[in-house]
Subunit: 425 residues, 2 copies
Amino acid sequence: MQLCEMNKEQLEKFRDEVKKEYDGYKALGLALNMTRGKPSAQQLDLTMGMLTALTENCKSEDGTDCRNYGILDGISEAKKLFAPMLGVSDDELIICGNSSLNIMYDMIMRCYVFGVDGDQKPWKDQGKIKWLCPVPGYDRHFAITEQFGFEMINIPTSETGPDMDMIEKLVSEDASIKGIWCVPMYANPTGITYSDETVKRFAALKPAAKDFRIFWDNAYCIHHLTDTPDKLLNIFDECKKLGSEDMVFEFASTSKVSFAGSGVAVMAASVKNVKYVDSLMTIQTIGYDKLNMLRHVRFFGSYEGMLEQMKKHRAIIAPKFRAVLDALDSGIAPLGIGTYTKPNGGYFVSFNTIDGCAKKVVALCKEAGVVMTGAGATFPYKKDPHDSNIRIAPTLPPVSELEQAMKVFVCAVKLATAEKLLESK
Amino acid sequence: MQLCEMNKEQLEKFRDEVKKEYDGYKALGLALNMTRGKPSAQQLDLTMGMLTALTENCKSEDGTDCRNYGILDGISEAKKLFAPMLGVSDDELIICGNSSLNIMYDMIMRCYVFGVDGDQKPWKDQGKIKWLCPVPGYDRHFAITEQFGFEMINIPTSETGPDMDMIEKLVSEDASIKGIWCVPMYANPTGITYSDETVKRFAALKPAAKDFRIFWDNAYCIHHLTDTPDKLLNIFDECKKLGSEDMVFEFASTSKVSFAGSGVAVMAASVKNVKYVDSLMTIQTIGYDKLNMLRHVRFFGSYEGMLEQMKKHRAIIAPKFRAVLDALDSGIAPLGIGTYTKPNGGYFVSFNTIDGCAKKVVALCKEAGVVMTGAGATFPYKKDPHDSNIRIAPTLPPVSELEQAMKVFVCAVKLATAEKLLESK
């Protein structure tokens, strides 16, 4: 029986039983952390060979001594490694340090201080700036645009991606809208991948602002979890058909391929944009860590080597996603007290309670020793208008802990939902 | 006989002889590059052990798995490694990525966009910003403040540091002056170290702008070349006596200690400033490369280990400085056609021609196959008002090449000076 069909007495009985179960969990004194999308130690072990992949010859293929200064936007073999991953050519790539978030931040900063290219006014000189944020989304994206003081506008997301009707209307009408955050594949946290139509409509956008830019964070482009992986259209291919390739900055990294703290981050953009970024970046730094680029090239050998590595990651984390989904399938679905995604890849399961329960669920979990990502974190300003979305990050804990944590989580959802429904009885 | 004492006939004879020598060099078809302060391959070889210093245990002393995300401002043992180098405590340090230039750039950007602290207006909202530039100085410093559009003001430098009378007067009178670039030890390019009085006067500055900041680039703090190294007062010690420690941002790196492209860069600041920077930085990145920090800690073992490494560097580069100075002592000094520094450390020898000859000397060198740093590069906007300063970077070429290049250089100085003096005969 679904909870919404219960009368007051049935609900009270249900609530009391669940409360007893919940108190039992509290008594266990658990201390489980499910907050962030971090790889587990077992996943990081997959890359230990990288630490000995570069012990002698530090020359790149063109003879550059990678130990020394020089080479602003990445050694050529690193470009060859990542070009097929993003489906771009070498001269459309910039290879940077360990953090794609940092590249995105720097890119926002450049647009803000110097303008999106040599011709457009810097955003800082254009008064109020607005930014589109597909929700639920990545908290660290929203934190950047919040720090720069942009007004963030929520864009609802469905199975096919963000609401393109809304986006097309907004950007065509409002020249103060300068950009949008997108995680187009296995999105954080929903796990959905943008449909072909969505990508084509992004490429075909006709923004009122000439300096509108799509920040295409393709963080999970090779992070498949199943035998039926999603497929994402190459946005640059679509843009090139329409001459709109200057509108897109694409980002990715090996943070969840090699080492989360010591990977290599990359940016893809039109040749024109790469030249412009290089012209500013050459003042910012002499160059990024080329030895770490070389380490990645030597360890993976090729893009295919990276894909092989991803299969090993999948073998470790797919069972964790299954544990989460099994718990939800058995504990939540029959009661009709929440909806959730079943992603084919990425790092998250996105869970929606009935309206007005997410904060309560997270608080109940915490009280029982299970720390979840804060409710609201997946929305700009940490404000979930429905107080409904909770991001579940299955990768870090071992399966046994995950199963334990999910029992607590399911119990917390039951309890919070029952109490919520009782309010209106 | 000094050139300035020669009459026209003597000078013409001198010029003709030197011209013959110069044409001889040109005929050799040399291709020597003395442009940048890069370490040589032999120096980089000193650090090869670092590539195998971290192959297994990636845990930091507090148990953090350095392979994963986390820890914003550096692992604790890296802080312990660098704290004695800069004479600050752990909570006055931020350990970053591979480039101190990048930290300085980011710091300028933060002040510009968000303000120097939580209270002051961002520089971008304060109209015209001016910046003090001790000259000759580091071209990449000047390039940053030029990119941000600050008006740069030349400050002459003597043996004791920049002209403090001028600095004190300017900063006390003009609130649009927001900062100064300083390389206080073995300065780039003069090689001088600021005197105790200079450091004390910096600490005691009373700027009209509350948000005036000293950018203290201590790049060469342990880069001694002789048995009688210079000593630099700890500016934070002096500031703390006066309560002015928020006025200073200090920077350093291991770029010329370990690997130039893959070192670790650090920033020191007051506890208040560190907290403020951390609060902004936490939006910019999840953290810097902790494995590379750990690699440095494991390889050097301690600050003393770094000092030992610097002795090995000295053994390699001191003879190169000697080759440069020998060439100048024998070829230039007797003729009175140039002045130059004899640094106790750092990476450069700073040479001054008589007024109006530097560009000509660099052009003559280039024509004979010896590329020097461009004349003017050591001044803001690349404009040397006296067309006199040339930066000599002895570290990269082998001694044999250096000797060859210096022969050409000395010959070019002779030729250019003779021609210049003949103009007014």
